[in-house]
Amino acid sequence: MVNRVVVGAHYGLRGWLVQRVSAVVMTVYAALFAAALASARPADHAAWKAFFAQGWMRIATLLFFASLFLHAWVGMRDILMDYVKPTGLRLALEVLVILVLVGCAGWAVQILWRT
């Protein structure tokens, strides 16, 4: 006999948790970024580039972007589930969102680690 446990309510927990954790990471980053920007006040290209080239800044910005794209996925998926009812169209749009976000993630890494 198959022992089935009815646990309907936990299916969305992972997405929910990803959304919250990524939100906290981005909030902390926004505060750090604002403080760093206010103290460094980069006024030209060289200063702006040096601002993002700091070791900790690169890693912090990477964590921010990773959180951003995960967060955007959960949010866009929620929106598509609520408003786009035809399954085929929703699937197509979800795939499009994933492609855009993964593409943006690669682009962000390229921007941060370009010499």
């Binding site: 919250r20 981005m26 943006c104 921007i111 370009r114």
Partner: protein, 130 residues
């Protein structure tokens, strides 16, 4: 049966705008709209970051482009979208841990989210864009 005839001919008047969206509802739908806006403009913002970090020439070109009133308006809108999404998001994190769920507090914090995000947009907009 005059009553039945009367009932049948009554106009249907489902004017949903009569149901005013409460303040927490306004914050909620704006949270969704601002999030969608930030997603839609994410690639453009990434493009701006890319170009500004690439070379002094592209940095200068981006700086010149962003002087345009339309570009400033869009950036100001996105700044508001980010700040509203951030403030409303912090409010939701507190609601998650059951802080501020009673109606008077929920209304108060909704008003705060709307007001603080607009005020911060004005202050940061002036500091960063002008």
């Amino acid at each position: 049966m005059p009553d039945a005839a009367l009932k049948k001919n009554r106009p249907l008047w489902y004017n949903l705008s009569l149901l005013n969206l409460p303040l927490p509802g306004v914050v909620s739908i704006l949270h969704r709209i601002s999030g969608a806006l930030l997603f839609l403009f994410a690639a453009w913002l990434l493009y701006l970051l890319d170009a500004s970090l690439d070379s002094p020439e592209r940095y200068a070109a981006i700086k010149a482009t962003l002087v345009h009133p339309l570009a400033r308006l869009v950036l100001l809108g996105l700044l508001w979208a980010f700040l509203h999404h951030l403030c409303a998001g912090v409010r939701y994190l507190f609601l998650d841990i059951h802080k501020g769920v009673d109606l008077p507090t929920a209304r108060l914090t909704s008003g705060l989210v709307l007001g603080v995000s607009v005020a911060l947009t004005a202050v940061l907009g002036v500091m960063l864009l002008w």
